[in-house]
């Protein structure tokens, strides 16, 4: 809790960071939403093609769900990656780790803050899409809530893993950009997977965000029951367990290596 509170105090010190949290969830999907509008045509000339591939003519909602989830994942990766990196650069990581609190609790505190800001950003995005672009959630709120809950372990398991990798690689921006770029290209953030070549679809099926987007998109935009998203939810639970376990293992390994080599404060 103390780490989460410290993160909040630091964030509050820079109002432009808070502005970014509010503005990006609506701005970023706009280019995809307007792109969809441009491709559909002034009288919806090409809309039938899109509907055949996706099962919906609501390309704004389709894009909105994908980009909001992608943004959330992106923010979680940045937050966890930057947490250790900034402590390293400020020279406070060693001294913080000398406190009698468990090492993992430092990272979990940062993850808690990231979870809260991620939730705030997502809420903001949903409200902005509803009132500015007229996107309506037509599916069952329970199925949607369950789908979002199934995404959480994946997002934060991945960010745990990522934080440990960043301490080892000592470079945040390149790693975040490569990972988020791969998700953007392969996971169907703004397009149906059916248009991808076979090898790209195979890569997509190995990435957890693909299942997350599919589950939340189906739950939010169609009137279907739990059965329609059951397979995606099952995959998300499996991925969530694997990623959380890998994240914890990577953190322990990184901590042991850093102590053995004395490289904790290197940057």
């Amino acid at each position: 809790m103390a780490v989460a509170r410290k993160e909040w105090l630091v964030t509050k010190r820079y109002p432009s960071w808070i502005l970014a949290m509010v503005v990006w969830p609506i701005l970023l999907p706009l280019s995809f939403a307007f792109g969809g509008r441009a491709m559909a045509g002034p009288s919806g000339e090409s809309l039938a093609v899109f509907a055949r591939l996706t099962g919906t003519v609501d390309y704004t909602g389709y894009v909105a769900v994908g980009t909001v989830l992608w943004l959330w994942m992106n923010a979680a990766l940045w937050d966890s990656g930057m947490f250790f990196r900034q402590e390293q650069m400020r020279g406070t990581l060693d001294s913080n780790w000398m406190t009698p609190a468990p090492r993992l609790s430092h990272l979990l505190g940062a993850e808690l803050f990231s979870l809260l800001t991620g939730f705030g950003m997502t809420t903001m995005a949903i409200l902005e899409f509803r009132f500015l672009l007229g996107v309506r959630v037509t599916g069952s709120p329970w199925v949607l809530a369950l789908s979002v809950a199934a995404v959480l372990p994946c997002v934060y398991g991945l960010s745990l893993l990522f934080a440990s990798l960043v301490v080892w690689a000592k470079d945040v921006s390149t790693m975040v950009n490569v990972v988020r770029g791969a998700f953007l290209i392969f996971c169907g953030v703004s397009f149906p997977l059916a248009v991808l070549p076979g090898w790209m679809r195979a890569v997509a099926s190995a990435l957890p965000l693909t299942y997350a987007i599919n589950a939340v998109r189906t739950a939010a935009l169609t009137k279907v029951g739990l059965g329609a998203v059951g397979r995606d939810l099952a995959m998300l639970v499996v991925y969530g367990c694997v990623l959380l376990a890998s994240g914890l293992a990577a953190f322990n390994y990184m901590e042991r290596q850093a102590r053995r080599r004395g490289s904790l404060s290197h940057y």
């Binding site: 809309l47 093609v49 591939l53």
Partner: protein, 331 residues
């Protein structure tokens, strides 16, 4: 969420710390005179012995300074090779989803809806051309404000500004490396993307370049004004990100202006960059223009003159204020 960090880590742009000095400037008393004169912005300074530093020498000094700043940025760029790899990958990361999104509206090889908006079915050429132009716009927009911020963070802004080089030349120098790297990236990008996505940018390159030139020069005015804003607010990353993104989106860099909601179209028509993208696309791709082509080209020339004058004026006002209040090194 932390603000995006285009340069990776703050604090690596250090002219002084990197051991770089402006080479071959006049030495001794002559240097002091020239330093003082250039710092004051005098046009023809007097040097010992009664000789004048002619405008030609002044231009030569400016070019040398830009060359030195370019060399410094080159060294910093290659100090972080992963960043170089990333900057080459970045366009592929952003353009590939656009391509696949476009494909989900295409039937029989024709994007009928897009053609109805723009006059061409080749959406990939449309987007790529806008993307490459916006890379140049961003190179100017970004690099001035961002390097200024990095120098503030690294604590070398004051010492760099003590160099005998006019501030405007220093600001322009910051964009030199960005423009060259964007050109190299664009050549690689066009070659690979043309092979991957099969689009055609046409052959009227020279008229298109002549049309685009005043637009890019005019952006320097924006850049000067933004540099002033960075000096004032100090943490300008978010502002640069948001304004750059909005200007690119609304001016039609990747989306046709006609496809924007009506209230945004009005704003788009008030941004001179809109006419730059529109005119160059009309020349290269044969798309329909918002206004007659000649009128759009005239707007771009007017934009260039007005923005340069306004930007220099705004930067001068802020810089004088910062010097008076002594806030230059704060961050």
């Amino acid at each position: 969420m932390r603000p995006p960090e285009p340069e990776g880590e703050v604090g690596r742009t250090q002219a002084g710390a990197e051991g770089e000095a402006l080479p071959d400037l006049p030495q001794g008393g002559q240097a002091q005179e020239a330093t003082a004169a250039l710092t004051r912005g005098a046009r023809v300074p007097r040097v010992p012995g009664g000789a004048h530093v002619a405008p030609a020498s002044e231009a030569r000094l400016a070019l040398r300074a830009i060359g030195a700043i370019f060399r410094r940025d080159w060294l910093i760029y290659w100090r972080y090779p992963m960043n170089a790899v990333f900057w080459l990958m970045q366009p592929f990361i952003w353009f590939t989803p656009v391509y696949f999104m476009g494909l989900s509206f295409v039937e029989g090889g024709r994007a009928a809806g897009f053609e109805a908006f723009t006059g061409t079915s080749d959406f990939m050429a449309f987007v790529m051309l806008g993307g490459i132009m916006s890379n140049y716009v961003n190179a100017v927009f970004w690099s001035i404000g961002t390097t200024l911020k990095n120098e503030m963070s690294a604590g070398v802004l004051e010492s760099n500004w003590l160099a005998p080089v006019p501030r405007a030349v220093q600001l322009v120098g910051r964009t030199a490396f960005s423009l060259v790297s964007v050109t190299c990236e664009s050549i690689v990008l066009m070659t690979v993307m043309r092979f991957l996505f099969r689009f055609d940018l046409g052959r009227d390159i020279i008229p298109a370049l002549v049309t685009a030139l005043p637009m890019v020069v005019g952006i320097y005015g924006f850049g000067f004004g933004f540099a002033g804003l960075v000096l004032l607010v100090r943490d300008a990353n978010t502002m640069i990100d948001i304004s750059s993104y909005l200007v690119n989106l609304l001016s039609g860099s990747t989306v046709p202006v006609a496809a924007l909601p009506r209230f945004l179209t009005v704003i788009a028509m008030a941004i001179p960059l809109t006419y730059g993208y529109d005119a160059v696309r009309a020349i290269l791709l044969g798309t329909r223009t918002l206004l007659p082509l000649g009128v759009e080209q005239l707007i771009l020339v007017g934009f260039m003159v007005v923005m340069i004058a306004l930007g220099l004026w705004a930067f001068g006002v802020v810089e004088r204020r910062c010097r008076r209040l002594g806030t230059l090194s704060m961050h």
